[in-house]
Symmetry: C2
Subunit: 312 residues, 2 copies
């Protein structure tokens, strides 16, 4: 088992969905990620919070033995995002973003973090993501996410970053934007041509597609009858994915990558069942195993192929 390092945002969100509204609840990619990944492996977190960051929110991470030595607490207010979802729960509409202390965030790895083998660079400025990469001394497997803002404003830096990581996790809309292709088969191939070995496209309720070493692996999401709040589903996916790989410890095979996608996908299904991090924060290992069994039934049942005998 290896430790996993995540660099990303910690913040407060105000979220409105067809099923309700919550103000100033805990959010941020690094929170979703580390709550999910800590189910499988020890987690180290790098990020910045303001003076208003609540001690109970810090305690939530510490209760999972998440190493928070890399969290900077600085003067000012914590990152804030307000978003809403309308009928299409697959797409968030941003109402307001206040970067606050995140504006001047410069990730600095504590000495003890520099030898991290599994690393996830959540969605932040691609130049900062590169900077983190350069601080690492013994990385084995590094992944990154990004978003429309960076694709539009820092494409060259982003493409450079993509060529330096092992896996890119990206949502489907942003995958289209980045590759200028509406066809997912073309899109994932063109991403690997930028120099990344593996790509995971996150497709909301339609699940994911992994492309690695010329192989595809894709499955739909676990069907959830009441999607309360999709915020953080992608970061939860990434957390489950990386957590599982770090839990294995070795450089992942294609089989590990496939299994990691399934855990990422299943964990995300808990996130969407409640507001904020509440869903993923309360998943137990036995629940996860039981949902996996349930899911396996939903995606198993292929025919054996009937024409082979006939052909001979």
């Amino acid at each position: 088992m290896s430790s996993i390092l995540v660099v990303g945002s910690l913040g407060y969100d105000t979220i409105t969905t067809p099923l309700g509204r919550r103000e100033n609840i805990l959010g941020g990619s690094a929170n979703y990620f580390s709550l999910a990944s800590s189910i499988f492996a020890p987690v180290r977190i790098v990020g910045v919070v303001g003076e208003d960051y609540k001690s109970e929110d810090m305690a939530l991470l510490e209760a999972r033995s998440i190493d928070t030595q890399g969290l900077q607490k600085v003067n000012g207010e914590t990152f804030f995002w307000e978003g809403r979802y309308e009928d299409d729960m697959n797409e968030a509409i941003t109402v307001e973003t206040r970067l606050n202390v995140f504006q001047d965030f410069k990730p600095e790895l504590p000495e003890s973090y520099k030898a991290s083998e599994f690393v996830f660079l959540a969605n932040i400025d691609p130049e900062l993501q590169m900077d983190v990469l350069s601080q690492l001394s013994s990385k084995v497997f590094v992944g990154a996410d990004t978003m429309n803002f960076w694709i539009g404003s820092k494409r060259a830096q982003l493409e450079n970053l993509i060529s330096k990581v092992d896996v890119l996790l990206i949502n489907e809309g942003e995958c289209r934007q980045l590759t200028k292709s509406n066809n997912i088969v073309h899109a994932v191939k063109s991403l690997t041509e930028m120099g990344v070995e593996s790509v995971v496209v996150k497709r909301g309720e339609y699940g994911f597609m992994l492309y690695s070493q010329g192989q595809y692996f894709m499955l739909p999401a676990f069907p959830v009858a009441e999607v309360i709040d999709p915020t953080g589903a992608g970061d939860t996916f990434a957390g489950g994915f990386f957590g599982y790989l770090a839990g294995n410890g070795k450089r992942p095979t294609i089989e590990h990558l496939k299994e990691a996608c399934v855990y990422g996908c299943l964990l995300a299904s808990y996130t969407v069942q409640d507001f904020g991090v509440a869903g993923v924060a309360r998943v137990t290992k036995s629940e996860l195993d039981s949902r996996l069994k349930n899911y396996a039934q939903m995606v198993s049942g292929l025919p054996k192929g009937q024409f082979e005998a006939e052909m001979r």
Copy 2:
């Protein structure tokens, strides 16, 4: 093995997609359906064509031993549809529909068709679909499709029909419209509450979801690098689905339904690879088996579950 009866449209389509344009090519739900289903079982077709219907298009069916005794050839022009697709290949935009001889179509089953056990009522007026049902003497398994036009204009008749069939095949957008629900888990449940035992939601490139006897089964579509023309993919799915079930002959189990969905899905992937019926018309059995093997690799690789030992 049982015969399968399909009632639907035969027509000529003019189609524009980002990859080209074809004028007056063969189309119609019954054509796509019967070309797909005839791979597995004998097919009987009921529909209407005009004087302009080409003998080569009739010969295409007869070469597959499709029984065309139920095809009426009447004075006037054949059904015509013009549509186009923009970037979103999952959605057709209708440019023009000329019902022509389809306007006064009244399906009449030849005596030899009345004992059909497997029956598919493709998308036509739900009152005509009901009328066909009433002509059948020994049906075992009946399915129906529908479209936005009938949901809007003949909802009561459509709901009555749904309560009388064994499976409803419907695309995702129309499923939302019919159930007034954006959540697919709710939607398929509420359809079964209308009295149909099984529902298959067709989701374009995202595949399908089957709901039957409280069980879900869902998989993504086979990924196609060049989607030339999605027209007829849904009817091809239905053809593969019903063809496989009729090929088995018995009233389907849940396992048969799952397998049938996979064949439907795979056959549809050939349809989208060319304009009109060309893709599905040239699928060979050995190709289909080989694509199934390829597909099986793309959707297999679930983790075994790792916490069970720990829990005991």
